[in-house]
């Protein structure tokens, strides 16, 4: 890439799916994938991943810790369609069937630096009480045809969901050539942000 004028910018994200709060469930694992616009292309790293199964911690926090690494690099010409990470969490139900425990999505942070995101998770609701019962009984809960729909707005109006828990993600974001292409996403003075502590203002 010539120094004169880059034609793409890079967004490098690494971090981890740290932990989750699912008060009622245990032995969960999560899947992540990315949804991005047409102008985006992954250049390095993994676009998808399935974590190990984790059990609740035995203390009062009852956190489900995965610490599952994320490492992906995108290139793009256009901030439109900024990548979103889509998480879906699965775990066994009473009968041992693997059912979905939550879907959630969040945009990757725009500004370089360390970011912590806690995203609420939700699952689609059954269409009727009977459905609910049978789906519970048979371990076939309603699921999204594609987890990626949670990152889009179209068609969501036909669904009803229930919230389930939270997943905490940590991102370390590095961008390249964003500013050269005219996109200024960083804070007003970049000197101020460096430091080990995560920026305040994010819910934890």
């Amino acid at each position: 890439m010539a120094a004169a004028g880059p034609s793409v910018f890079l967004l490098m994200v690494n971090g981890q799916v740290e932990s989750a709060q699912f008060p009622e469930y245990d032995d969960l694992y999560c899947k992540y994938c990315f949804v991005y616009g047409q102008d985006w292309a992954p250049t390095a790293g993994l676009e998808e991943g399935i974590s190990q199964i984790t059990s609740k911690s035995q203390d009062v926090r009852q956190a489900l810790v995965w610490n599952f690494p994320i490492d992906v690099t995108f290139k793009s010409t256009n901030p439109y369609g900024w990548p979103q990470i889509v998480l879906s969490v699965y775990g066994p139900d009473v009968f041992g069937n693997d059912v979905v425990r939550g879907y959630g999505a969040v945009h990757l942070p725009f500004s370089p630096g360390r970011h912590k995101r806690t995203i609420p998770m939700f699952v689609p609701e059954s269409t009727s009480k009977l459905q609910k019962f049978t789906s519970w009984f048979m371990g076939r809960r309603p699921e999204y045809t594609d987890p990626k729909v949670v990152a889009q707005g179209e068609g969501r109006e036909v669904t009803r969901v229930r919230s389930q828990g939270f997943v905490t993600l940590l991102f370390n974001v590095v961008t390249k050539d964003m500013r050269k292409l005219g996109y200024d996403t960083g804070p007003s003075d970049t000197q101020g942000v460096s430091g080990p502590s995560p920026p305040p203002g994010l819910p934890l």
């Binding site: 047409q38 102008d39 269409t127 049978t134 179209e154 109006e157 036909v158």
Partner: protein, 1582 residues
């Protein structure tokens, strides 16, 4: 600090006692000095006892030292005394000592006592500090310091505010005195407390001199209240409440500056009482001399009051209430929309909420027919008097006089140079301005004065006339009486003023005249000069002319004219002063009161008496009676409707009618007009409408109680003549005896009324919202948002608004009022600009960062837009470059070309212009339909997003049964007899290239044609050409299955293999042997979706076909030399195309699997091959012989993984379809839904069709498509006496119309059914159209025919035609033109869903749906459920088909031309395909083939093979020949080329090969073309 306080507390004590206690204190002070050992004693008591001895010794030494020093001066242990009254005094006296003292103590103290000493030292230091500052605080100050800081008693704090609250200072003092005693007491107790505290402290510090001998007994302190007060006064600061003079608050020599006066906006200051402000100011002044708290105006700096009078938030709901109750939705009945909404008040409000109060107080006639002459005069007088009063009130003359005076004064001062310091010219300028102003004002004043005078004169004149009239008629009708009051004036002063005025005026006028004169003189001089010069020139010219005339007589003419009119100018007259004075005086006399003349003030009164009736003449009595008979009432007309009327009131003698009625109009409509109609009743005769009075609609600000009584004038144009004294109306009359000076008066009058909006119970005006009003005006108001800023609900008159603003003294500088002020200024300046548009986003322009043109020019933006619009070319465009410069212009080229071509018909691709047009049209239809369905695509159903198990239904069968699944739980994990499980279906979203494979399982084939020995020239066993009838009669073939004996190299009959090509990937099987080969091979072909888009819609639109070609592998021995045969094999493999099966990918996709035996499409003539009849097949169906013959292949095709077919779009279509309009009866549509639901319940997999979508997207009942339609006459005439042949011909004709599946063209959206004429015009359609047309033809041929909806292989759901012959049923495939018997096993129709006739639909409710096993007798209701039955009778639906089809004969010449072109193109193509070889064309063979093709057409490709072969052999005996005719319907050139290519004829690379190619086009009516292409390769035998 705590430790310090006691010491500090000690200090005040001496102050209290001051002088008288001093001696005592002196003594006590001495004590400690003289007694140094005591501290040591205490030390022994507290310090370590072990060290006692040593310490004692040391102390002894120290003490001796200390004694000597201490005795001299120092009072070291001061604070340890209980009372040391005089100490302070002393200490101050010895102010310089402490340092010394400290040194000394340090010296004398030993190590053990060091710490203590240090402490003491520090204490001392603190103690000694207060006296150190030079300020030298007085005793009182010190005391106060103590009380202020320390006293925690509440009384003290209470006292202070009390004192503050006092009004006057004197009073405060009194109060203070009253409160003094308790305060003192408190102080005393404080002291005691403190003392004890100090004691304790001292004790703690180890000072043990609290022995009794130190206690001094004193009398109780007393302090007089006065003294105390005095002290307090000095200490306490009580800010004054008096206003602080401004100069104190401002810096020296600075004048207060009032910003408000300078026109700057200053908000309202918060409301603070004046006294509080004063106190604060005083305090600030004394505390901080900096004055920074004071503004330029000398007031305390304060921000404007931020508190708004009204809450900006809605009132908070009460906490207790459940918030859900607030959020609860309320049902409101739907309100019918009334079209005349403009006149409607908001629908939510109940009618009658708005009320208009109309107060009609009375009516006065200014003229009435019954007026007597006196009345007329009286009215005139009254009017004049009113005018006079009005003028008097305004008194304009006085105002102008004053102004004149002021101006004159200004001029006077301006003229005086001593007083002005301005430059001369500006003064002059202002003076000139003043002068012109004076002139103007004078003129105005004169006019006003004259008018005043005239008015007065007229009043007097009228009054005189009236008086004379009264005298003349000897009675009085009106009580009017005018009194002229004279006001005496000071004669002399008046005269002087008059004279002065006149003089001033004269002087001014003179000056004016002088100026004028000057100017005129100036002009004159100039003119004179000019004239002189001209004169001179003239003279010179004349001289010249005289000379010239002789020389050039003709020149004379032009010259003299222009100069002739110059006249000598006359000098202007100087003004005459006397004359001017005369003029001025004259004018003054005319317009002004003469000096000394009394001021006349007219007063009109009604004090006069009216002559009673008895004394009046008869005519007058008549008139009066007439008046009495008359009565008046008013009608109130609201929006052109009478809403109420007043009582009828008699007309008074003074022509006034008093009503005094208030009408409360409960209105529902916005008032548009409000009219009062004045009706007059004369006696008992009818009423007449006198006049209409139009009342203005009140402003919304006018509410009852505030509305002024207004007088609205009216007049009527009626003509009334009366036979009594009344003067009548519209009639001329005169006051003069001679009838001159006639007057014509019309009935007129005034209605005094007031109209106002009522106020509701809660004080809210009952005004309808403004929304119904003029939109333009309102938007202007709204834009300025003036209404909200002043808090009124709505305004309609800007003038009034301005008035209101002026009256209410709005601060024009207040930012709050800015919009209003602007509005007013706009409105009052006359150019009330009301924009006739409404801007939705007012700030849009401000936020545009580039102009629109620039934005449109941006290629990147355009690309992004197009992609977002899902334009096909850009839908999947990835990574749009970041810069414009990186976007190639050619990106848009295709798109632009397409846009351009939309209306241009391109004939290059389509040889036939008609077809090009059709293609274009189809393209447009497709686009419009796709656009329509794009919306539907973005419409999601729950099932699109969420995978959910179906509700288990116990009653029906299926996998989701609850019971069954429960049962499954108990099932064995590995059953002995595993059942087949369905493959898992994959949604096509997360797939990529290479994930999907098409699996083609080729099992076996039957009846492959076998080779014929080409070399043998013997005649083939004659297979006479069979006729149609013959086919039915089973004629066993003469061929035996094996006659391979003829083959030279012992080759088998045929060695077929199958080649499958799909998306340019080619796979082939191994080579099998024999005419009935069995391969059983699975071929795997990768699938690639277009553009890598694996979405459902994309997959549905894949148009690729799977070609399954069957070839014969022929080995030719190419060994030249027989001798080498023993040692080597030299053969060449040739592949000869035998036939193909074509299966569209869309079929595979929708069907998920294709399993069955298909007929191989084999050309009618395969040179070198002949059909081997399989005895097995024929034996199997002896009873009913199969009509179809040919070769078959058994295939199984599927996809891996299985894709979920995009049914969702289809299902959603039903939703969308409902939105498409339909012209069908609602009942019928409901019935169709019901019928379909019932059928689907019984047999969910059987196709049931009742309504279809026509080409314009409307839903049409299906039977409307079926109607007998005439086939082309030409076809009927072909074989007039063979109905079966005709039927076949017709079927062939239909099959020749190109097939275009609309599921492909419309991307799996829906079937569009076009009518037969549309179909024939388009010359393209899918099964339905073919079937409909064929069925219609059959119906017109008199056959019983139905449309069969069912599924067939390979098409899937399709439409066939069923006809009933005499004894049996025939199933026709409309697309191929083939027909099958009901019991034909090779019939592609595999299941029958429903039959559709022209007047009914029958759904198959038999157990089986295979045509082999069902009964086609639709009359049996147990087998066929009919749509129209006894319950629902056939309503006689009209057909959508045309009355009759019109066929044009196809132009034969055009067909011939097309034929030549195709041939040429194909030849070029073949040569292109053989780039490395020479392609020779055998012309002889070509012509032979060309002759043969029409024969083929005539016989429809049947049974001409042998003759043809024979002929060919005859002609081309020397050649080894392989070739075949291809037959296709003509649609485009491309499929023809593809077909030729797929045969692989060009692949022969034998060096001496020759080719032959012939094309024949047979034109059928309506441009239906049958294309025959004969390709052959020839190899010369040696």
């Amino acid at each position: 600090m705590v430790s310090e306080n006691p010491h500090l507390g000690n200090q005040p004590e001496p102050l209290q006692e001051d002088s008288d206690t001093r001696p005592l204190s002196m003594t006590t002070r001495r004590g400690p000095r003289s007694l140094p050992p005591i501290p040591s004693a205490s030390r022994t008591g507290f310090a370590e006892f072990s060290m006692r001895e040593r310490m004692r010794e040391k102390l002894q030494a120290a003490r001796s030292k200390a004694e000597s020093t201490l005795l001299q001066e120092i009072p070291t242990p001061r604070p340890r005394r209980l009372q040391s009254p005089g100490e302070k005094e002393l200490e101050t006296e010895f102010g310089a000592e402490p340092g010394e003292e400290a040194q000394k103590t340090q010296q004398e103290d030993d190590s053990q006592s060091r710490s203590r000493v240090k402490f003491r030292d520090s204490v001392r230091k603190i103690k000694t500090k207060p006296p150190v500052p030079p300020g030298f605080p007085s005793a009182e100050e010190a005391y106060n310091f103590f009380t202020f800081n320390f006293d925690p008693e509440p009384e003290e704090s209470e006292e202070k505010p009390k004192a503050k609250n006092r009004d006057g200072t004197t009073q405060e003092e009194e109060e203070g005195e009253e409160e003094e005693p308790p305060v003192q007491g408190i102080h005393k107790t404080d002291e005691q407390l403190l003392i004890s505290a100090t004691e304790a402290e001292a004790f703690l510090w180890g000072l043990d001199h609290a022995a009794a001998d130190f206690v001094a007994v004193r009398p109780a302190d007393y302090e007089s209240a006065h003294v105390r007060l005095q002290m307090e006064k000095e200490l306490l600061f009580v800010p004054s409440r008096l206003t602080v003079p401004t100069y104190k608050k401002l810096p020296e020599n600075v004048q207060p500056r009032y910003l408000e006066d300078e026109g700057l906006y200053i908000g309202t200051r918060p409301d603070v009482p004046r006294t509080c402000q004063n106190i604060m100011e005083n305090r600030l002044l004394t505390q901080e001399p900096g004055r920074r708290w004071f503004g330029d105006d000398g007031r305390i700096v304060a921000l404007p009051n931020p508190i708004k009078p009204f809450p900006s938030r809605p009132p908070v709901l009460t906490q207790e209430q459940d918030f859900r109750a607030e959020l609860e939705t309320l049902y409101k009945k739907a309100v019918k929309y009334v079209h005349r909404s403009q006149h409607m008040i908001g629908s939510g409000d109940s009618p009658g909420n708005f009320q208009l109060d109309i107060d009609i107080s009375g009516l006065i006639f200014t003229h009435h027919p019954c007026f007597s002459r006196e009345h007329v005069l009286a009215a005139k007088l009254a009017q004049l008097y009113d005018q006079y009063l009005a003028r008097h009130q305004r008194n304009k003359a006085k105002f102008l006089t004053d102004k004149l005076q002021a101006l004159r004064n200004a001029v006077q001062t301006g003229l005086n140079p001593a007083k002005t310091h301005k430059s001369l010219d500006t003064t002059q300028k202002t003076i000139n301005e003043y002068k012109s102003e004076i002139r103007q004002t004078r003129k105005l004043r004169d006019a006003e004065q004259e008018k005043d005078r005239m008015l007065l004169k007229t009043i007097i004149k009228v009054w005189k006339e009236m008086k004379s009239l009264r005298e003349f008629q000897r009675f009085t009708n009106t009580p009017l009486k005018l009194v002229l009051r004279k006001e005496k004036v000071d004669q002399k002063a008046d005269e002087e003023a008059y004279e002065a005025e006149i003089q001033a005026e004269i002087s001014e006028l003179l000056e004016e005249h002088m100026e004028e004169h000057e100017q005129k003189m100036e002009a004159y001089r100039a003119a004179y000069q000019q004239w002189k010069a001209w004169k001179k020139a003239q003279r010179a010219k004349k001289k010249k002319k005289k000379q010239a005339v002789e020389e050039h007589p003709e020149e004379e003419m032009g010259e003299p004219y222009p100069e002739e009119d110059l006249v000598k100018p006359v000098p202007p007259e100087p003004t005459d002063r006397a004359l001017m004075e005369h003029q001025v005086r004259e004018r003054a006399a005319r317009s002004r009161r003469r000096p000394g003349e009394p001021l006349l003030v007219p007063e009109l009164s009604l004090a006069g008496s009216v002559t009673p009736n008895e004394q009046c003449p008869r005519v007058e009595v008549l008139r009066r009676e007439d008046v009495k008979r008359r009565s008046i009432y008013l009608k109130v007309i609201f929006n052109d409707k009478e809403v109420s009327r007043t009582d009828s009131r008699p007309l008074g003698a003074d022509f006034r009618v008093h009503f005094g009625q208030i009408f409360n109009l409960q209105i529902f409509n916005w008032p548009e007009s409000l009219t009062l109609q004045v009706y007059e009743t004369v006696g008992h005769s009818g009423t007449t409408l006198l006049a209409e009075v139009f009342l203005p609609i009140p402003e919304t600000t006018i509410v009852t109680g505030r509305a002024p009584i207004e007088e609205v004038e009216f007049s009527s144009n009626q003509h009334v003549t009366l036979d009594h004294e009344g003067v009548g109306s519209g009639m001329p009359f005169s006051f003069e005896a001679d009838g001159s000076n006639q007057l014509i008066l019309m009935t007129s009058g005034k209605v005094s009324n007031s109209v106002a909006w009522a106020i509701g119970e809660n004080g809210i005006p009952l005004i309808p919202p403004l929304s119904q009003q003029n939109i333009g005006f309102r938007s202007a108001l709204k834009r300025a948002d003036a209404i909200s800023s002043i808090g009124t609900s709505g305004l309609t008159d800007l003038k009034k608004l301005a008035k209101w603003a002026a009256e209410s003294k709005l601060d024009p500088n207040d930012p709050n009022n800015a919009p209003l002020m602007q509005l007013i200024s706009v409105a009052t300046s006359g150019e009330s600009y009301v924009p006739d548009f409404f801007r939705l986003e007012q700030l849009q322009q401000e936020f545009n960062f580039v102009s629109d043109e620039e934005l449109n020019r941006s290629k990147r933006f355009r690309l992004l837009c197009l992609r977002s619009q899902e334009v096909p070319e850009f839908r999947n465009y990835k990574q749009i470059p970041a810069y414009d410069r990186e976007i190639m212009e050619k990106v848009f080229q295709d798109y632009e070309k397409r846009l351009r071509d939309r209306n241009v018909i391109e004939t290059k691709d389509h040889i036939d212009p008609h077809r090009a047009m059709v293609a274009k049209y189809l393209q447009q239809v497709r686009e419009s339909v796709i656009n329509r369905f794009l919306i539907a695509k973005h419409h999601f159903l729950l099932s699109d997003l969420i995978v959910e198990e179906e509700v288990p239904n116990i009653s029906s069968e299926g996998s989701g049964i609850l019971g069954l699944s429960l049962f499954k739980l108990a099932e064995q994990k590995r059953p002995l007899r595993p059942r087949r499980k369905g493959r898992k279906k994959v949604t096509a979203q997360n797939l990529s290239d290479g994930d999907i494979k098409v699996l083609v399982n080729i099992i076996r084939a039957y009846d492959i044609p076998v080779r014929k020995p080409t070399a043998s020239k013997f005649q083939q066993p004659s297979r006479s050409s069979r006729t149609f009838s013959e086919k039915h009669a089973a004629s066993p073939t003469t061929h035996s299955p094996t006659h391979s004996a003829d083959y030279p190299l012992g080759q088998v009959l045929v060695r077929p293999f199958v080649e499958v090509s799909f998306q340019r990937t080619i796979c082939h099987t191994t080579t099998a042997e024999g005419p009935n080969p069995s391969w059983n091979e699975e071929l795997e072909l990768p699938f690639r979706a277009p553009n890598g888009d694996y979405s459902t819609s994309s997959l549905q639109s894949v148009k690729d076909d799977v070609f399954i070609n069957i070839f014969d592998e022929v080995l030719y021995d190419v060994l030249e030399d027989d001798r080498e045969r023993g040692s080597g094999i030299h053969t060449r493999i040739e592949r000869h195309w035998l036939g193909c099966v074509k299966i569209p990918f869309s079929t595979i996709y929708f069907q998920a699997k294709i399993d069955g035996t298909f007929k191989i499409d084999i050309p009618p003539v395969l040179l070198g091959y002949s059909k081997e009849r399989s005895m097995i097949i024929e034996r199997g169906f002896d009873s009913v012989r199969s009509l179809s013959e040919g070769s078959y292949i058994t295939l199984f095709i599927t996809m891996e993984p299985q894709l979920v077919p995009g049914e969702s779009v289809r299902e959603k279509m039903s939703d969308v379809l409902k939105k498409f309009d339909s012209q069908e009866d609602e009942k019928l549509l409901q019935a169709t839904e019901k019928f379909q639901a019932e059928c689907a319940l019984k047999f969910p997999h059987r196709q049931c069709l009742t309504t279809v979508t026509d080409i314009s997207g409307k839903t049409v009942f299906i039977t409307r498509y079926l109607k007998p339609l005439n086939p082309p006459q030409e076809l009927l005439e072909a074989c007039p006496n063979n109905p079966q042949a005709t039927a076949e011909l017709v079927a062939r004709y239909v099959s020749l119309i190109p097939f275009l599946p609309d599921t492909v063209s419309f991307a799996g959206i829906c079937d569009l059914w076009s009518t037969s004429d549309q179909f024939l015009d388009l010359l393209a359609g899918d099964e339905e159209e073919h079937a409909v047309l064929l069925c219609n033809y059959f119906l017109s041929l008199g056959k019983k025919a139905w449309l069969v909806m069912g599924s067939a292989i390979p098409e899937g759901p399709t439409a066939y035609v069923l006809t009933r012959e005499q004894s049996h049923y025939l199933i026709w495939n409309p697309c191929s033109g083939h027909f099958y018997g009901q019991f034909d096993t090779f019939c592609p129709l595999k299941s029958v869903g429903c039959l559709i006739g022209p007047d009914n639909i029958w759904f198959n409710i038999q157990r089986h749906d295979s045509p082999l096993r069902i009964n086609f007798d639709v009359t049996k209701p147990k087998l066929w459920k009919s749509f129209f039955s006894r319950n629902l009778l056939y309503p006689g639906l009209s057909s959508v088909q045309p009355e009759e089809l019109i066929y044009q004969r196809t132009d034969k010449a055009a067909a011939a031309e097309l034929q030549d072109r195709i041939e040429k193109i194909l030849k070029e193509k073949i040569m292109d395909w053989r780039p490395r070889h020479l392609t020779r064309w055998n012309r002889y063979c070509t012509s032979a083939l060309r002759h043969f093709l029409p024969l083929l057409e005539r016989s429809r490709g049947e049974d001409v093979e042998d003759d043809h072969r024979g002929e060919l052999l005859k002609q081309l005996g020397d050649y080894r020949f392989s070739g075949f005719p291809l037959h296709m319907p003509y649609s485009e050139l491309k499929p023809l080329i593809e077909a030729v290519y797929s045969t692989g004829v060009h692949n022969i690379d034998v060096p001496n090969v020759e080719f032959a190619l012939a094309v024949y086009i047979h034109p059928y009516p309506k441009n239906v073309l049958s294309v025959w292409i004969y390709v052959a390769s020839l190899i010369r035998n040696r």
